[in-house]
Every structure is written in structure tokens, then in C-alpha cells.
Amino acid sequence: MLDLLDGLIEAFSLIIALDPDLIQIVFLSLRVSLTAIIVSTLLAVPLGTLLGLKPEKKTRLFNKIIFTFMGMPPVVGGLIIYLLLSRMGPFGVLGLLYSPSAMIIAQVFLATPIITGLTMVGIRAKGSAVEETARSLGAGSYLAAWTVVREARFAILGAVITGFGRVIAEVGAVMLVGGNIAGRTRVMTTAIVLETRKGNFELAIGLGVILLLLSFIINSVLYNIQKGGKSN
């Protein structure tokens, strides 16, 4: 219990002191995960919409594959990206391993199936009814699809939040492909693992508290957007 208390005190003293190493770690975490989520969203929302608008029968196999990837252990995803980017791997010449880019790629790989799957489910729930209505009002395919997306926007936002929650809290993949290099690829989760291993429990739990606070702020903002939408 004392350790937890010390951790809370440590967390606040770290925040108040604006420790430059800490700020660097927090910003790198946000930069990597937000970039990954933007890329994932751009890939996954159109794909999920496309799948959601198709009859379930036609996409059955695809659905199963996506749902499988949604539950993939992050460290396995990380390992796949690691092997692809390794000097011995097919993309080794790019020299991306142990860089923030590699971490973004791994997180995109993890988040895209989640956002795709949840978007698809959301679109399907709004169903063909909306699409048919739009078409009957004279909308073309693209406009009809856009209408469905607009109708399902809260489900999609939920999908994006879920994806973000997954990648910001993820440690196995970023440790593997980022390498936890101080000042370069060390993010909050890998720093927590390191400090725990070193026996610096106060600092580790302090970092954990900061991670939770950040997550709380981001989720609050998104939640408010969502709620605001519903009351309209």
C-alpha cells in the first residue's frame, strides 16, 4: 500500500516538475499512437463501411479473419512487423526497425482490424434501411454510403476510441519493434516495464498514473463529443 501511495506522490511530483525526460516520453507516446490511429481510421473506416454495406453472407470469411485479427496478441503483431522490418527481412533495407515509424506501423497493424470490425458492425446495425432511404431520395452509391457513415458516426467514433485505447496501452509490440531506446523510442508503457524491472516501483506506478490521467482526458473529450451528438 505504501508503494502505491509513494507512486501517487511520485506521479504528481513528476507532473509538477515537468521533468523533461517524462515530457519527451509522454509526447512520443501521443505522437506514435495518435498518428497510428489517424492512419488506421483512414484505412479502416472505408473498409468497414464497404463490408458493412455488403450482405453478411458475402463477407463471412472476411469477417472471421477480421475478428481473429481483432483479438491478436499485440506481441504477435509486433513480432510479424519485427520480422518484416529486420535487417534480414524483406523491408530491412528501409532501416525502419527501432524507430518511431516502426512503432506506428505496428500499432496501425493492431488497430486497423479493431476499427474495421467495429465500424462494420456499426454500419450493419444502421443497415440497409438508411441506404435504401437515401437511394430512394435520389442519392448515388457514394452519397448513400456517406449517409450511412453519418448515421453510424457514433459507432465509428466508439471504434476509434477502442482502437486508441488498445494502442496507447500496448507494450509488447512497441517494445519489440521500437526497442525502448532512451530518448528515441521509449514510450510510457515500455518505461513502466523498465522501471518495474529496475525495482523503481514509485516511478513505475507514477508513470502508470500519468498514463491513466492522459487516457481519462482523451476519453472524456471523445465521450463528450459522442454525448453531444446524441442529444441533437
Partner: protein
Amino acid sequence: MNRYKNLNPLLLVCLILILSTALVAGGCAEEPAPEPEEEAVEEEVEEVEEEPEEELIDDTITLATTTSTYDSGLLDFLNPIFAEQTGLEVEVISQGTGAALETGKRGDADVLLVHDRASELELVEEGYFVDRYDVMYNDFIFVGPEEDPAGVKDADKALEALNLIADSESTFVSRGDDSGTHRMEERLWEDAGIDPAGEDWYLSIGQGMGDTLTMANEELGYAMTDRGTYVAMRDNLELVIVLEGDPVLFNQYGVMAVNPDEHPHVKYDYALMYIEFLMSDEGQELINSYTVDDEVLFFPGYGLE
């Protein structure tokens, strides 16, 4: 014990016989008792007392140790032999030395096998640990890419090697995890008069020895490693040994028990058995006989003459 009073003497003799047989141990074959009742009581007591010595102990002890002893396979070699002799299963937590010491200080382990002599002696002094012995040593080596851009192969002193690496700004991958290996590396940098922290070519990764070698291999960089981990991983690495044999690179391991006065729940007796096993002639010979790819990885006793 009162219930024995109701037994008839013949039954009692049978009971003693059965008990003696069950005990396997020879110590029970004693003179026929003139007063069977009392004898039975003594037998009972004796049985309880002798069990820990005569029988295999069905229990576990927790060993906090460094990644190097575990990854090298040494413990997988030694612990089953210890288990065969005593029955005690050794549960191994493998961490950096810093974390292992912390685990021990918190009483989350019974016995420690670590390599940071100065810290160990300090913690014994402070009363966290007892019965510390210099159990074995191994050596550190510098590894790097075959091309050897810093020219470390021409050096024969560790400090010289570090200067060459720093001057040429060659990539150097550091454990950076407060492990015994990392602490030693830090001391060497300090002795060389270089502060590499924050330099572009110095990668502090806060991970284990295996991870560090993997990254050095990928990044065509240098690293300081214990010989054991390198030998065990050599097949998967393109790294070669660029420096070895400097006496400052000897690495002393200590074994010690968590102080039962600090943490009454620790299995101090069993910890002592483990320490005695490692320090016995047999244990020391076993350590010396362990090889990977025909290379002896750990040498018994004290290496820092």
C-alpha cells in the same frame, strides 16, 4: 497420544513395524521395547524429526537471479540436480541484478544469485541478506560487427575500446536496465572519462542481454555482454568478439540468503541448503563442468585476485 493407551501391545508392535517400513530410513530398527507404549510415542516424535533429512522435501524455494545465469542454461543444469538430492523445486525469477536485489529486499524470494559485489556487500551490511559467498565468476566481452568500424580489435584494454567507440561515434547498445552488467558498463565508461548518455550513437534500451545483442546485431553496433549469453546466441548473430581477457571484465557472482530476521516468512533453512549445495565441492565442480558449445561459462570461486 492418549489413544495409544487403548491399543493392545501386539497391535502396537505391528504399528511400529509399519511405521518403520514406511520411513525407509534405517534408524527405526531399534531394540524391542520393554515398554511398548512409551516406545510408540518416541517413534512418533522421531519420525517427525527425521523427515526433513531422510525424506525428499516436497516444497519449493524461490531464487531471484539475473538473466545471465538463467539464459545461459546454467540453472536448468544445476537445479534439477539439487531437486534430485533434496526434493526442493527451485522457482527462478530472472531479472536484472538491481531488480533481483529489490525482490530480495522485499522478501519476495528466499535466496539470491546475483553479480554486483559492491551492492551485495553493502546490503549484507545493512542486514537485508545473510550468508553471502563468492560462488563463481565469468567474464564480459565486447562484441561488434565483423567490419569493426571503431577498430576495437586492435585494443586489448576495455577502457581503450570504449574510447575508440566514442571517438568514432560508432553505435553502442547498452542494457540501460540497472542490471549488474549495466552497472559494470557504467563504471567502465566513468573510468574512461566519457559520459555517453544522450549521445546519438549510444542506445540505452532498458532490456535484457539477449535483446541488447539482438539490437546490436540489427544496428551493426557494439555491445558489452557476458560470454554466456553471447555463446548461447552466437548462431543467430553476426556479431564477433572484438575484445576479451581484460581482467577488469571479470564478473563475480554472489549467492546469499534473505535475512529471516527481516522477513520471517522466508524459507531460510532451504535457502541455506541451496547455498551449501552450490558451495560444496560437488556444486563447484558442477559449475565448472557446465559448457555450451564446448566453452566453460562460469568458473567456480572467487575471480578477482
